[in-house]
């Protein structure tokens, strides 16, 4: 009963003018920062933090939470329209979002992405509000051994992505894994392949690499082609086309939501992993995997839906255990502490009103984003009609600025350029870029946890077979490696 009262007063407070204003401001700021590459939600939160120090905790957290949530939407718009991700979690969206824009269907893609915000955010929000402690205690079952196997499972989905040319695909993945080994060995503290360059001690940063791989390589191509991004002059898609397309794929919707929530609830993996996993899963499950990368709407739907539900999922361990699910949530956790809201299992009792205000505002924010995205999609998509000689220098400036702004190190600009040339070469010669990025994201997680698990078991490998979670995940990994090929063999053997 007391809890019910807290929920009600939290919801009531969410609808006060101050709070609604903070919610709308947070959402707007989040989208703007999300659009700028390299400056994601975390940076926006850190920048605005001093301003909110004197505010009511509920209002301050509302603003910060909505910034975090909405930044990924801003990033998805630029991913779709100009092949430049706002944040690493938008990287997978580019694979099909950008080809859609090239075909003049940019508005549709943004429509799909907007619907993902509402549906993914909404479902994530329901789980967060009603079963956060339950999910958090499930997430705690993931120790080092479980996380290792999870990373292996996530890596195994590469199998489905490289069907058309397995050798080139695997080479690309192996290179990604190699790149992830650059920097500190986080267990022994030994620096690898850095040659005394301190800015590389944390490893090759992912954000500049992704910007280079997609945006810069695209800049080279566009610069040589002339014309405009869109190859057709008449833009397709009405206001509601994106929403209609979204609901045509219930299977993909369900699986992407599931991936987003589970990965989000685990502190070891974040939004980038979830969106890549959902993308690869959509490819694997599709009857026509060859249409991906050429503007298949599911290629936008799957990663964006996972990304948005994962953003909500990220909040679950943050609020329920005080363990941040991602870098962005770590900043958010700090802000909570700054306002004296101690997260943990008791948070919903001790600071119930504040947290329920936050949750309500997060949900309102997804509605605002949805309306904004759907009504604006047509106008945003016009960017794809601008002549290349005007848009290309702009993309170039924003990409390099984004690479720099990520950590304020000049070496990141150089890294971005190197990856730009690498990406151009790989795309020209038919090497998939996604396996390389997956290798980079997951290599670190797999290696660290593998090492930790072996320390814990004194070097005995049976730790990876000791719990039912690891067994299920291992079985799924094997299935996921073999499945695409088995399906192929089965189809060929089937008499017509």
């Amino acid at each position: 009963m007391e809890q019910f009262h807290l929920i009600l007063s939290g919801i009531t407070f969410a609808f006060t003018w101050n709070n609604i204003l903070a919610m709308i401001a947070g959402t707007t700021i989040g989208v703007i920062f999300g659009v700028l590459p390299g400056i994601g939600g975390s940076a926006a939160m850190a920048l605005l933090l001093p301003m909110t120090l004197g505010w009511n905790p509920a209002t301050a957290l509302t603003m910060m939470g909505t910034i975090f949530l909405s930044s990924s939407f801003g990033g998805s718009i630029t991913s779709i329209l100009i092949n430049t991700p706002g944040d690493t979690s938008n990287a997978a969206t580019m694979m099909d979002g950008y080809p859609m824009t090239q075909q003049g269907r940019g508005a549709e893609a943004i429509g799909i992405s907007s619907t993902c915000v509402l549906v993914g955010g909404g479902v994530g929000w329901m789980l967060l509000s009603f079963s956060a402690p339950l999910i958090a205690s499930f997430a705690a079952r993931f120790g080092p051994a479980e996380n290792t196997v999870l990373a292996i499972l996530a890596l195994s989905i590469i199998s489905a992505l490289v069907m058309s040319s397995p050798i080139k695909g695997l080479m690309s993945a192996a290179m990604g894994l190699f790149i992830s080994s650059i920097g500190f060995d986080s267990i022994t503290g030994f620096p690898r392949y850095v040659r005394g360059v301190f800015s590389l001690y944390e490893g090759i940063p992912f954000m500049p690499a992704v910007i280079g791989m997609f945006a810069l390589s695209q800049v080279i191509t566009l610069g040589m082609e002339g014309g405009a991004i869109s190859t057709v002059t008449e833009l397709k898609g009405k206001l509601t086309t994106g929403i209609k397309i979204f609901f045509q794929y219930p299977g993909t919707i369900f699986r992407s939501l599931l991936i987003g929530i589970i990965v989000g609830a685990l502190p070891a993996a974040g939004r980038t992993t979830s969106s890549f996993m959902a993308y690869a899963d959509a490819v694997r499950a599709s009857k026509n995997p060859e249409t991906f990368g050429k503007g298949n709407p599911q290629g936008v739907l799957a990663p964006e839906l996972a990304n948005n539900s994962c953003a909500m999922g990220d909040f679950i361990p943050t609020l329920a255990l005080g363990i941040p699910g991602s870098a962005g949530c770590a900043v958010f956790l700090g802000i909570m502490l700054l306002h004296g809201v101690v997260p943990g299992p008791r948070a919903f009792v001790d600071n119930g009103q504040t947290l329920y205000t936050l949750l309500t505002s997060l949900f309102l924010s997804t509605i605002v984003l949805f309306i904004f995205g759907i009504t604006g999609s047509k106008y945003f998509a016009r960017i794809s009609l601008i002549q290349n000689e005007i848009i290309v220098p702009l993309i170039l400036i924003f990409s390099l600025l984004g690479a720099f702004a990520f950590r304020n190190y000049f070496i990141d600009v150089i890294i971005c350029c190197l990856f730009g040339f690498l990406g151009y070469f790989m795309i020209q010669h038919g090497y998939g870029t996604i396996p390389l990025l997956l290798g980079m994201v997951l290599g670190d997680m797999a290696e660290k946890n593998f090492h930790r698990a072996l320390i814990m078991s004194d070097g005995h490998y049976d730790i990876f077979w000791s719990s039912w979670i690891t067994r299920i995940l291992l079985a799924l990994s094997i299935l996921s490696i073999v499945w695409p090929y088995a399906k192929l063999v089965y189809r060929k053997s089937k008499p017509r």
């Binding site: 301190f198 700090g334 802000i335 101690v342 601008i386």
Partner: protein, 335 residues
């Protein structure tokens, strides 16, 4: 394609507007910068001070710095810019502060003495921990020994279990403060342990909640949320007296075990050769902040420890940490 051309022409009008305003902005900025050079020979401080923070936003040290800075700039009368320089285990931040001009306009928020010492020993770095100019320490956060109460209810029960098997202890990284504390505890309580490094306190605590570890060595602040709800349990804390922020947790001394105290002091330091007058001004300003009722109320609310320590005493603590690390360096190397 032609249609695209038309659109950009449409943008032209707005573009000119934007260009005009940007140009105006650049000119104004340029004029402003003329006014600033040190014609006004006011004494220190007369321009913004940069504080180099070696941790990413969100952690305990970050919260603490921002809290102090908001009061400190009122007292000093100049803006303070906190520059977050995470990465490379703090090496980049420590080096930047160490090599900066000793004019008092670049200061370091010295978050972890032991981390700085470990880097110095293992990597080729350009700074020397003992040569920083200690200004003022603001807190001495206690570390603690956390267990999962579903597995171990008390210290005797924990020690009993430790007799028959090696314990898996979570800590945050090789050579970190929590690693050294874990070493000291296992040495003093005489049991065998395997030290499992994690990316930070939170990650290791999650593994403890899931019963993958036997205990975690971590700062009290990181574990407080989980401990106050009863999910995890603090067996003892590292401080010599009960902490003022967390008076509910017993010290190891009270339980009858002499575990050496380990400094986990946060404070402000400057580059080598920082003039004494500047140190004094900052020392006084920080002492004032520490006794401000608003700061104390804020620290209480956010569970930030307040243990002020002036420059000379702070120097001793740094030396103590350095020597402690020297003594245990062989054990810390093992992994």
């Amino acid at each position: 394609m032609r249609k695209g051309r038309g659109l950009t022409e449409g943008l032209g009008g707005i573009g000119r507007e934007i260009l005009r305003y940007s140009l105006a902005g650049i000119i104004v900025l340029g004029l402003l910068s003329f006014g600033s050079p040190g014609h006004t020979q006011k004494k220190y401080p007369n321009r913004p001070i940069t504080i180099v923070l070696p941790v990413p936003p969100g952690g305990t040290a970050d919260i603490q710095t921002r809290g102090i800075v908001s009061y400190l700039q009122n007292i000093l009368g100049v803006p303070l810019a906190v520059e977050s320089v995470p990465g490379a285990s703090g090496i980049i931040a420590y080096t930047r502060a160490f090599l900066s001009k000793p004019d008092g306009y670049t200061l370091l928020f010295f978050d972890s003495i032991l981390r700085a010492c470990t880097n110095e020993r293992l990597q080729k770095v350009e700074y020397k921990t003992l040569r920083f100019t200690p200004i003022f320490a603001v807190s001495d956060q206690p570390l603690c020994w956390v267990v999962n109460p579903q597995v171990y209810q008390s210290l005797p029960q924990f020690l009993e279990a430790a007799r028959s098997k090696p314990m898996n202890i979570g800590m945050s990284g090789k050579g970190s403060t929590s690693h050294l504390y874990a070493l000291l505890v296992t040495e003093s309580l005489k049991f065998k342990a395997r030290y499992v490094p994690f990316g930070g306190g939170a990650e290791s605590l999650n593994s403890l909640v899931g019963k993958h570890l036997d205990a975690v060595s971590v700062s009290v602040g990181s574990s407080y949320g989980l401990v106050s709800s009863g999910t995890l349990k603090i067996l003892f804390v590292s401080s010599e007296k009960r902490s003022t922020v967390y008076p509910e947790f017993p010290t190891s001394k009270e339980l009858g075990y002499a575990i050496p105290h380990i400094p986990f002091v946060n404070g402000f330091a400057g580059p080598p050769g920082l003039p004494k007058e500047i140190v004094k001004i900052l020392e006084e300003a920080l002492s004032k902040v520490m006794v401000t009722p608003e700061y104390q109320a804020w620290a209480k609310k956010t569970k930030v420890d307040v243990t002020p320590l002036k420059g000379e005493d702070y120097k001793k603590v740094i030396e103590q940490g350095y020597n402690l690390l020297e003594k245990y360096q062989n054990l810390l190397q093992e992994m």
